[in-house]
Subunit: 228 residues, 2 copies
DNA sequence: CTGGGCAAGATTGTATGCAATCTACTGCCT
DNA sequence: AGGCAGTAGATTGCATACAATCTTGCCCAG
């Protein structure tokens, strides 16, 4: 702990802090976030905590059940597919726009993100690397100068963290840093078509790493098994 | 007023009610929503009102200024363009998907929406017609069975109401019901390509009805004029 | 011994009181 | 007369107390 870093105080700061924790897989789907508990951690009253929790719920990261509390969302297989279909719809076009408008400063930011991601991986912090990897996608929307869509992508990246926590196949390290490198190259060349294609392929890659088989059939058979 | 209809009580209900009022242009950009005032209207405490207001702020309908209050947002020209660029990215694809999955029930819902829109126009309620017209677009996303993207489109339609309130050129009635009719026809024929093209054209039509000239240059010249 | 009902504890939902901040008005000074 | 400062009013920010609801464990009846 670093005593010099101030704890988040406002509702938005706490919401951002909790979101980071979810992105880093330090807070996992299904976990309960009690108002009193969270309030004690940050040293604020329940009013502020409730604002933050409702904020996250609105982003789809939490599910608030009346008189029961706030729980980290557990996206169903259908929701997981929807998230990646939405990303497939938005991000390739945004990557193209980003390639057309990319500035040296923006590209430098992306490169620093990739560097930090490598550092985190080397330091044995896969959660941090995952968070940075997600932020890479948001940063591309920012470079495209599309604030509205950037907000949507931020939400989708957040939910992707939950999806990855639930449905990721292998536990080994990320294999995708190569894709991010290639994207930065395309942006640097202002090659919109290449950026669009690379992003599309990258998202399909991610999707193929997920185990999104429909478990509803198994649940039904479970019901049968228990009925015997 | 109908005494049998219960006033909204919960934060979500109040948020939905306020959203409708914005959609119908009964609450206009720049208007202030005081906590006490809103609370008195619905007969609830400020706590619930604050939740509702923050909800709308998160959707981009309100702008909450610290210690000043909540004001209906006034999208800039840039934000207005972004909203329609996002819609152009999402809705044509969603219309295609909707055409492929459309059921008789869904189509009946859309037709009833169009009918209600005509009734509202005939009854001299252009605000209500506008609201229904927006809901038509959300309904298509619902037919496409894409809950995540439906949420995004709901947000975009909301913001479009603000954009229309600020930048719509003519005051005369909507001219677009024909486009909605054609879209329903395409959906009924399960003609995805036609639905996609019609939606794209419809959105371009809407955009062309807006006066999104950049006023920043005029502001600069005003500054010059005042400096003399 | 098992199953249902009941009561106690815990947690969230809401209202309200107090503190902090902003706005606007008034009065003084130049 | 005009401008600025100070103050009073109003509005939001936050914490907390109380009410409603849910969960859980216990006890009693069958």
């Amino acid at each position: 702990m670093d005593g010099s870093t101030r704890m988040p105080q406002t509702a938005d700061e706490i919401a951002a802090h909790l979101t980071e924790a979810v992105h880093e897989h330090r807070v996992l789907p299904g976990m309960k976030l009690s108002e009193d508990e969270v309030g004690e951690i940050y040293g604020v009253g329940r009013t502020v905590v409730r604002q933050a929790l409702r904020h996250l719920a609105h982003d789809g990261l939490l599910r608030i059940e009346r008189n029961r509390g706030a729980f980290v969302a557990k996206p169903t297989v259908k929701e997981a597919r929807e998230v990646f279909e939405a990303r497939a719809l938005l991000e390739p076009s945004i990557a193209r726009a980003a390639a057309e408008r990319a500035t040296p400063a923006g590209i430098a930011t992306l490169e620093s993100h990739i560097r930090e991601e490598h550092v985190a991986l080397a330091a044995g912090e896969p959660g941090r690397a995952l968070k940075l990897s997600g932020h890479f996608h948001v940063e591309i929307a920012r470079i495209a100068d599309q604030a509205t869509i950037e907000g949507f992508i931020r939400q989708l990246v957040s939910r992707s963290s939950l999806v990855i926590a639930l449905y990721w196949r292998r536990r080994n390290a990320m294999c995708e840093s190569h894709a991010h490198h290639a994207l930065v190259d395309a942006l640097r060349r202002h090659d919109g078509q290449a950026a669009e294609d690379l992003m599309k392929g990258h998202l399909l890659d991610l999707l193929s790493q997920l185990d999104l088989r429909d478990h509803s059939a198994e649940l039904l058979s479970l019901r049968e098994a228990l009925a015997r």
